[in-house]
């Protein structure tokens, strides 16, 4: 059988971002995959050395616009750890609320794009319609839809006050109602199952040895979630990671779907338990020494490392994002699949190229 190599991307309707996969096919079957990256590289890590360290928050938020709050949270917690700043408890709870809201909006966006990738257009529209409720909540509480800019070193910039809180609860109730109608379609629909069950299998041992993170890893049966490390206040909220054992695209989809349900509960629980108090503490010194932190992003574990020298500029900021660890898994999932399944399997790791290349 003759082999044909053709490019998938960088400009492709199913990909909101630019990545190229060079697919080698025999007939309709994919035999080899070569990801070509570099279309989204900006050089953020180098630019972070030229900016004042508090200004890096704005740069870190724009590593990725989908999970921007969690990038800012990660950077702030890292610098706070290096400077030994204790954040007020109310700020910690607010950080949890906003990071869980951004997780919901990221997962709903992804579920919609997955539905689009197997041609279920109306489900795509429903997911994005439900997602607008979350974006409205974010806009109401922080003033921006996608890039919130509400995390600062030493706390948070804005508050969810008593006037706003019932509104947030109402929005969450409205979202739960929407979710109730979407959940069974993903979980039980015949056509959805046909396109996801058994597609893009990532065996349990390989998921670990390839170093995958987040829902890709949890879909293969590993209960590994950086939120169990207890940053912010996740240990007080009784957080338990969601695990599926199916190892295929369906399992990864179910992990994200169940995480949406869980995140809504976490938001409500955080609102219930939120203590009174200050939002920020004053930070005066400069970061010195080294620091490393792991936080859980919607796509998996985000690791940041920084080295400071006691001035207002960092010597080094290193970011390792989840998709960077998940791309090698595509080389196991894709070979042997049908050409028509390539978009579904590529989507199933939730690729965020803007994160990966920075």
């Amino acid at each position: 059988m003759a082999r044909v190599t053709f490019p998938f991307g960088p400009q492709h309707p199913v990909l909101p971002e630019a990545i190229q996969l060079q697919l080698t096919c025999e007939d309709e079957r994919v035999v080899e995959v070569l990801p070509v990256i570099g279309y989204m590289h900006r050089g953020i890590e180098k630019a972070a050395e030229a900016n004042l360290y508090p200004n890096n928050i704005f740069l870190c938020e724009r590593i990725c616009g989908i999970c921007s709050f969690i990038h800012a949270l990660c950077y702030c917690e890292l610098i706070e750890g290096m400077m030994r700043v204790e954040v007020p408890p109310r700020a910690k709870y607010l950080r949890v609320v906003w990071s869980e809201l951004s997780r919901i909006h990221s997962h709903m966006l992804w579920l919609g794009l997955l539905a689009d990738s197997f041609g279920f257009e109306s489900l795509f529209m429903q997911c994005w319609r439900a997602r607008e409720i979350i974006l409205d909540t974010l806009e109401m509480t922080t003033g921006q839809r996608v890039i919130q800019s509400s995390c600062v070193i030493g706390g948070v910039r804005r508050d969810i006050d008593l006037d706003m809180e019932p509104g947030v609860r109402r929005q969450m109730a409205a979202f739960q109602k929407e979710l109730k109608s979407i959940y069974p379609v993903f979980a039980k629909d015949y056509t959805v199952k046909l396109r996801t069950v058994g597609k893009g299998v990532l065996p349990r041992d390989q998921a670990w040895s390839l170093g995958t993170v987040g829902p890709t890893l949890r879909g293969s049966g590993w209960a590994d979630d950086a939120r169990t490390l207890g940053y912010a206040v996740y240990d007080d909220l009784g957080f338990e990671p969601v695990v599926e054992i199916g190892c295929d695209s369906y399992a990864r989809m179910m992990v994200r779907l169940r995480e949406v349900v869980q995140s809504v509960e976490l938001v409500i629980k955080a609102l219930d338990q939120m203590p009174e108090g200050d939002l920020t503490v004053t930070v005066k010194s400069f970061p010195e020494g080294e620091g490393l932190i792991r936080v859980e992003q919607p796509r998996g574990e985000l690791v940041e490392y920084a080295r400071g020298n006691g001035t207002a500029y960092l010597e080094r900021l290193k970011v390792r994002t989840p998709t960077f660890s998940n791309i090698p898994a595509l080389l196991v999932m894709l070979p042997g699949c049908e050409l028509a399944d390539v978009p579904v399997i590529t989507m199933s790791i939730d690729p965020c190229i803007a994160c990966t290349e920075r």
Binding site: A18, M40, A47, L59, C64, R129, E132, R145, V146, C352
Partner: protein
């Protein structure tokens, strides 16, 4: 006005391409197509083939590797066409102005007709920009503006 010309103005097709921004604007462009904002009521459709497109919607500050892809997409889109630069970094480089691998704006590579402000640009602003672009498209069709380069 011929049938073909009128149909093109009434139903412009959009090609969206991200040239290395943060995704924030890209998801807002997609949000425009979904039920709440529903840009399809202006006859717009998001498509993947540049040869079918009338409106190019470009986000991001353009990096060196993407430059050639962007030029190729622009060349493949048939005339008359309009280019919308969405977001602060597509206009000036924005927060990425001092990043090593960015060119600092779409207009460094291809001529731009409409700039949409915001970081990330709001869906309302994007729709506003699209409506403005439609007026420009109509002007270009009737020969008011000779080609895209004259629009700046």
């Amino acid at each position: 006005m011929g049938f073909l010309k009128r149909a093109r103005v009434k139903s412009p097709w959009i090609l969206h391409y991200c040239t290395g921004g943060c995704n924030g604007c890209d998801i807002e462009i997609l949000a425009c197509l979904t039920p709440l904002y529903d840009v399809e009521r202006f006859g717009m459709l998001n498509i993947g083939n540049p040869k079918h497109a009338d409106v190019l919607m470009i986000t991001g500050p353009v990096n060196w590797k993407n430059r050639e892809v962007l030029q190729r997409l622009y060349a493949q889109t048939p005339d008359p066409k309009v280019v919308i630069a969405v977001g602060a970094c597509a206009a000036t480089g924005g927060v990425f102005h001092n990043c090593v691998n960015t060119l600092g704006g779409v207009d460094k590579v291809i001529p731009v007709d409409v700039y949409v402000r915001g970081c990330a640009a709001r869906p309302e602003a994007i729709i506003d920009g699209v409506v403005l672009a439609l007026q420009k498209l109509e002007e270009k069709r009737s020969g008011g503006v000779a080609h895209a380069a004259g629009a700046r």
